[in-house]
Symmetry: C2
Subunit: 336 residues, 2 copies
């Protein structure tokens, strides 16, 4: 596949142009273009430029998305706030809600903002990084439509809800766990299927119900594996229930009643860790990560890396060399 390396500013400018032509205001177009670009810069291609044409398409069709909607506070009790996303763009809604959680955390130690009637927030890690940039621990998640079968069934009943933990570190080198509940994302299975490569660990079941390393067979059977089998199912259900309860929004089974996925529910928690950990925070994190990185790699394995470590290396490389964009994708965006 032919790749272009596109400079960060050029990518922002090009996405911005498309978004302006789509009808977003100057300020909203700029914020969206920047986040799609940052996502791509960090190597999360599936939710960056590769997803951008579909996002622009949805915005132009207006299906399930109101370009100009602003999220509104619907109710609150202490540090718990419930917001209504009014089907605005998921990225913008989520930024407002994590920023609000940070604001509450700075005043009261912790803030928990739940959000209903919102749309796909693209890269989950965006909002964790946002909390960490503001000096807070960030914990957030979203529900999705039904994508994963429970253990012992082939019926897809549970969402592939991404869960994020972020911990601030100096110079933006944050600890960032950004994980969905399936062992592999759909995009990752695509990559292995197209390359005809065996998955490193089992990724689901094939049509005969056997655990499989074959991405194509798993996709054909529509039986991706949740992390930890029954455990990932339980975690995914927990996230869905808490998100729908707190936000008053739809839970996974309700989202699945519509043909397209929209109107999802999310939770944004910020913790003002400085307030209790103080100056020791960075030292504690650094020492823990240093001990982890001292793990001896197995023969043929890469050195271990903590969540966020490789992302930061990819970011630096992409800032230095330009952000890789598939040639076809770049043409597609230029033509939007």
């Amino acid at each position: 596949m032919e790749m272009h390396r596109v400079h960060f500013d050029i990518l922002v400018a090009e996405l911005n142009r498309v978004l302006l032509e789509t009808g977003f205001t100057t300020e909203r177009a700029q914020r969206l273009a920047r986040i799609f670009t940052e996502t791509t810069r960090d190597g999360v291609y599936s939710h960056g430029v590769n997803r951008f044409p579909a996002f622009a398409g949805q915005a132009r069709s207006g299906k399930g998305m109101d370009l100009h909607a602003e999220p509104e506070s619907a109710s609150d009790f202490g540090v718990l706030e419930q917001w209504d996303g009014k089907l605005g763009p998921g990225i913008l809604n989520a930024c407002v809600c994590m920023d609000r959680a940070v604001e509450v955390a700075r005043a009261h130690g912790m803030g928990c903002v739940s959000l209903r009637n919102t749309n796909h927030w693209m890269r989950a890690g965006t909002y964790g990084l946002r909390a960490a940039d503001a000096g807070c621990i960030g914990i957030c998640w979203t529900n999705t439509t039904q994508l994963i079968p429970p253990y012992g069934s082939a019926d897809r009943k549970v969402g592939n809800n991404p869960l994020v933990f972020s911990i601030p570190r100096p110079e933006g080198r944050h600890f960032l766990l950004d994980m969905a509940m399936s062992q592999y994302s759909h995009g990752k299975l695509d990559v292995y299927r197209v390359a005809n490569r065996r998955l490193p660990v089992p990724g689901g079941y094939d049509d005969s119900g056997n655990l499989s390393y074959d991405a194509g067979a798993i996709q054909a059977a529509r039986r991706p594996l949740p992390i930890g089998y029954w455990k990932g199912i339980g975690l995914s259900m927990s996230l869905d229930l808490v998100a729908s309860l707190l936000s008053g929004g739809r839970s996974t089974y309700q989202i699945a009643q519509e043909e397209a996925e929209y109107g999802v529910s999310q939770v944004f928690i910020a913790i003002h860790a400085d307030a209790v950990a103080g100056d020791r925070m960075h030292e504690i994190v650094d020492r823990t990560l240093a001990d982890f990185r001292a793990a001896q790699p197995l023969e043929g394995s890469d050195p271990v890396s903590y969540p966020g470590e490789r992302m930061f290396r990819t970011r630096e490389e992409n800032l230095a060399l330009g952000i890789p964009v598939e040639a076809d994708r770049w043409q597609e965006i230029l033509a939007l």
Copy 2:
């Protein structure tokens, strides 16, 4: 293995006797005896009576545990509180902290109490149920010593930190996720090894580095599998970092520097969901769980069950028939 069925009240009374003779005050002995019995009643034998003799032994030796220590609030900022467990009994410390988180949540929507210098809390789910009994969503976790190797290494660097989500339901039939980060607990591997049974899903690596269904081979290699391979490692690290940062206590690598596991760090979060979800809470949860339970079981599989569902059935059976205790274990307790 021969089993006795012991009535709930008789088990409480017997454990209470041992704890009084161990030196606990009347009130503390009663609370501990009750929680060990409830844990066994709910089918979590590994952290109920089966663990009780070791607990009593540690209490009698005084190693790393102060029988009479009360946890103390060390600092706070808004809804964030940091407590010092002063190496008191883990169960009692954890109860105080979850109760305090609930108190803060009732006043301010959410409470987050972190606890350092504490001891093994036995069954993690105890504190989730406690929050749910008080009408709150409970989220809590503890760190542990180093037990799991990261993906691509055989060095055990990461804790097997249990994570709990509880959601209140009527009549105590709470949703309760209580999961550690390894696919199987050590106790569960023991059961399969002794019975010479194949694990239902891979549980770790053998000495040759192959994924294995053989509990004995996994234990010999000391390479249990985390849920989701690299994903469970990332989640476990997140929980450890947040627990040690918020509590100011030890992180997993520091706990591992001692021969025995003590002085761990924990987090207790309670969310006063009623305040925003109101009367709709039970209906939302019921409908979501009903949809989940409608999943068609695969041929030869049991019907799917949500976290906490089987536990409640076990509880009812054990209350009706008596709580199963291995004959040898019962003799051991009677002789303590």
